[in-house]
């Protein structure tokens, strides 16, 4: 149980750190996809199948695609690799120190807090249960999320669509 968790954590944190350190943007995006898969594996480990597969579909299937598209569309140099200049030394030290401080605070908080021992039986969330709760107590939230997604989609289209005046033939 703990061994599996350790492996998952290794993949998750390792790929996330590598993604943030990588100088190649495409490698970053792909490593992040691995890290998202690791998150999904964590959900599976915890018994939340539905969340795990939703995570894979949304993050690996859609968000990473959009990220890759953005990477390819915003290349400076259309033939070469997508390289990023390394962060400046000041910025890097500042970021690392802030990260380390936050990590220290969080770790201290986690370690010092005292949780009740977990129930012996792992909870199960069947699809039926999730569906009933989504449609019952969380119905309003579901509707709002739907509206939010629609607005986000429209907003993204408005932002990213090219100006129609530039070339009338390309207008959608």
């Amino acid at each position: 149980m703990t061994v599996v968790l350790a492996i998952i954590a290794l993949v998750l944190l390792g790929s996330a750190a590598a993604a943030m350190l990588s100088r190649n943007l495409v490698h970053s995006a792909l490593l992040l996809a691995v890290s998202w898969l690791g998150t999904a594996a964590f959900y599976l480990w915890a018994g939340a199948d539905f969340a795990a597969f939703a995570q894979v579909i949304v993050y690996v299937g859609a968000v990473s695609m959009v990220v890759l598209f953005a990477v390819l569309l915003t290349r400076q140099n259309p033939v070469g690799d997508v390289q990023v200049e390394p962060a400046s030394r000041v910025r890097l030290t500042a970021a690392l120190s802030v990260g380390a401080c936050v990590a220290a605070v969080l770790f201290a908080a986690v370690v010092s807090s005292d949780f009740r021992p977990a129930p012996a039986q792992a909870p199960t969330a069947t699809v039926k249960q999730i569906g009933l709760e989504l449609m019952g107590p969380y119905g309003a939230a579901l509707l709002i999320v739907g509206v939010l997604l629609t607005v986000a989609l429209l907003g993204a289209i408005v932002l990213a669509a090219s100006e129609p005046k530039r070339n009338p033939e390309d207008a959608p």
């Binding site: 939340a48 990023v84 999730i130």
Partner: protein
């Protein structure tokens, strides 16, 4: 050291990686990805507390995660659209160059 402690340590480590990445990198896409990582860390916490928490009868943690995933997807879509608009405007996506409010 209960399993919950371990899970929370993992998620806080993930959060800090995302935070440091978002602060250190000057590429807008990487900053956005760092923010996504932080969101994921929060999701890990939801699941961990649902799994090892006191009252796991309801699927509350899972539902929170589902909503959070939906919002993260919306965020990614809008964020990347913004990046593309930024690129079209200034021909690069360095964060330091995006200093003008007026287009």
């Amino acid at each position: 050291m209960t399993p919950l402690h371990l899970c929370l340590l993992i998620s806080s480590a993930l959060f800090c990686i995302g935070l440091a990445g978002a602060l250190a990198r000057s590429n807008t896409i990487l900053v956005l990805l760092g923010i996504e990582l932080m969101l994921n860390a929060a999701n890990l916490n939801f699941i961990a507390f649902w799994r090892f928490g006191p009252s796991p009868a309801h699927a509350t943690g899972v539902i929170f995660v589902i909503f959070s995933i939906a919002i993260a997807a919306a965020e990614a879509a809008v964020g990347l659209a913004l990046i593309i608009a930024l690129y079209r405007h200034q021909r690069n996506i360095r964060l330091q160059d995006a200093v003008q409010l007026k287009g």
